[in-house]
């Protein structure tokens, strides 16, 4: 293959990564933006989504599309419920103290990961894609499912943006993010908003995982990379900025896809992580965010 098509393939792969990353990172960004909680267990909610998607499609059987659609709806709901319970039982009692919640979510990370290992096992298991149509380009055939992942993710991102900017729920969330005390004084149930946002964040990660699992397999350690990448995206995009998150996800996903295709993936990770650390040190508000506080 020549350089051009090679680059196109790398870019397409990168876009798929970006699509999933944008959803996952958006969840992390919402939780941080509204609650000021750094959720280290976010990657594990992603992993739970993938593992549950596998369990649901296996349980339902029949046509792959049927199981997949069920998984896409049910897995995020279960993950959201788990997140809600965790928020009520642990985070709320800690008064959302930033340092205590980091330690607590590290604890959740270990608990979820170990339970997944004990119950689900160490194997990586595939999920059959809902359809296996291949789009034939002049140089290579490309999976239609991967393209549909990009489209679905874009739709979900637009939907989230509409909810945040055009509905009352979004207004309540933004008010809580802006100033939770004043919001409470105006009768907004801040505690319930926090619970909802934490669950929503986890659900976004679970949806992303359910989408990606037909491409990469479900494994109990699969939450590590998305967590780190989401951190990177959220920091570069500016914490709490939806547009920044999406732009950064596309940027990171594309460069990750292209750099890993031409160089060593480890080197790509080293460069990306170092760059992000430097962004955080020298431009804490992110590349696109405006200075907050």
């Amino acid at each position: 293959m020549h350089f051009g098509p090679h680059l196109l393939l790398a870019a397409l792969e990168g876009l798929v990564t970006s699509a999933v990353l944008a959803l996952t990172a958006l969840g992390l960004s919402l939780v941080f933006g509204v609650m000021r909680v750094v959720n280290v267990a976010h990657g594990e909610f992603f992993m739970l989504g993938a593992v549950l998607a596998w369990a649901i499609t296996t349980a339902i059987g029949g046509h792959p599309a049927l199981g997949f659609l069920a998984a896409l709806v049910i897995a995020p709901l279960i993950v959201g419920a788990i997140a809600l319970v965790a928020e009520r039982l642990v985070l709320r009692r800690l008064n959302y103290n930033p340092e205590a919640t980091i330690v607590a979510t590290i604890g959740m990370l270990y608990i979820i990961q170990q339970l997944a290992l004990t119950i689900y096992g160490p194997e990586a298991r595939p999920v059959e894609p809902p359809f296996s149509y291949r789009i034939l380009l002049p140089w290579f055939g490309y999976s239609g499912y991967k393209l549909s992942v990009i489209a679905t993710s874009a739709l979900l991102l637009i939907a989230t943006w509409l909810v945040l900017t055009r509905t009352k729920i979004g207004l309540i969330m933004r008010a809580t993010q802006y100033d939770s005390e004043t919001a409470q004084a105006f009768g907004i149930p801040v505690g319930r908003v926090y619970g909802g946002v934490f669950a929503l964040g986890a659900m976004l990660a679970a949806i992303a995982a359910a989408l990606i699992v037909p491409i990469s397999q479900a494994h109990y350690l699969m939450g590590q990379d998305p967590l780190l990448l989401s951190f990177i995206v959220v920091i570069i995009g500016g914490l709490g900025s939806l547009r920044g998150t999406v732009v950064a996800a596309v940027l990171i996903g594309l460069s990750d896809g292209i750099i890993s295709m031409f160089f060593s993936p480890t080197l790509a990770k080293i460069i990306a992580t170092l760059l992000v650390a430097m962004v955080l040190v020298f431009r804490p508000q992110g590349l696109f965010g405006t200075a907050s506080r």
Partner: protein
């Protein structure tokens, strides 16, 4: 907080050291070896406590300082053929330089950003170890050869693989670090650190240069952690990338939280307790990370001050 009397504190520290010395002759072989390892790791926890307990800076990247000492000492022996004392100092120097560098960058941030930045630098360090696998051994790790692990003074030579020598060396390092850290936190400088933890703005207004004080704390903390890593490589003879992973950044946090942050003996108690809990539970289940996770959550929920912190609050106000 009541004023701690120096005499009581020093006799407690010396008592603990004497107890550990006596235990060397009483413990059965298995626990003898385990305790040597725990003492070395308690030094790691003490280094972490220096920054987390006294300055209130929560780092999620201290594995890189431990690993800098570990690899600095281990690779000096394996690749350069250095002697043990020189390699030990080399490991410590690696940790100190790295801590200075990381401190200069990471201290520009505060709070949550500080945690994420330290975690990311540690991740870069970890990936670099994997990337340069030809020299570092990557995730397979490397064994420090037994013949090289010998301390020689003129005619006499001590083999670090001998259990008693190993135990006494670990105890020696532990005692030095315990006495040095308790002297530091008692000094004028230690009080400035606590003042920064309690209210940085006010400390700044009182005329203290908080940045350079914090930087010095990062360097001291990193150096102590590197000493622990260097001792670990030389005493137990194995270096591997898992010691640089996120998990090894979280373990000292757990040990310190469990034992009691900002107490001099908390790191030892926490490390000891956690090791025995894992040792006992691993008889029943392989899922020891589950125990770590549950312990972390229960600790922050119910005992944010840890074992010694709670004891100090309720009964013994003088506890150092």
């Amino acid at each position: 907080m009541s004023e701690a009397s120096p005499a009581k504190a020093y006799s407690l520290h010396l008592g603990v050291i004497a107890l550990l010395f006596v235990l060397s002759f009483l413990l059965p072989e298995y626990y003898h070896g385990l305790l040597a390892r725990i003492m070395v790791l308690a030094v790691f926890a003490m280094g972490y406590n220096m920054l987390f307990g006294y300055v209130g800076l929560l780092s999620l990247g201290h594995a890189m300082f431990f690993a800098a000492g570990l690899y600095g000492a281990g690779l000096a022996v394996i690749q350069l053929g250095w002697g043990v004392p020189l390699a030990f100092l080399g490991g410590i120097a690696c940790g100190a330089v790295l801590a200075l560098l990381i401190g200069l960058l990471a201290l520009r941030t505060t709070g949550v950003a500080f945690m994420i930045v330290t975690m990311m630098f540690a991740q870069v360090f970890y990936l670099l170890i994997l990337y340069f696998a030809t020299w570092t051994g990557g995730d397979q790790g490397m064994v420090v050869p037994q013949p090289a692990r010998v301390l020689s003074f003129g005619a006499t030579s001590l083999e670090l693989t001998n259990p008693t020598v190993r135990y006494m060396t670990a105890l020696g390092l532990f005692s030095i670090v315990l006495l040095v850290t308790s002297a530091i936190v008692r000094s004028r400088y230690g009080r400035v650190l606590v003042a920064i933890r309690e209210n940085e703005e006010r400390t700044k207004m009182l005329g203290y240069d908080t940045f350079s004080n914090k930087l010095a704390a990062v360097v001291i903390s990193g150096t102590i952690c590197a000493a622990s890593g260097a001792a670990y490589a030389l005493l137990f003879g194995y270096i591997g990338s898992s010691f640089a992973s996120v998990q090894y950044s979280i373990l000292p946090l757990l040990w310190v939280l469990l034992g009691g942050a900002a107490t001099t003996l908390g790191p030892l108690i926490g490390t000891l307790f956690m090791y025995y809990v894992i040792d006992i539970t691993s008889g029943y289940t392989s899922a020891y990370l589950l125990i770590v996770g549950i312990a972390l959550i229960l600790l922050v929920l119910f005992f944010p001050k840890g074992i010694l912190g709670s004891i100090r609050q309720r009964w013994l106000g003088w506890l150092p």
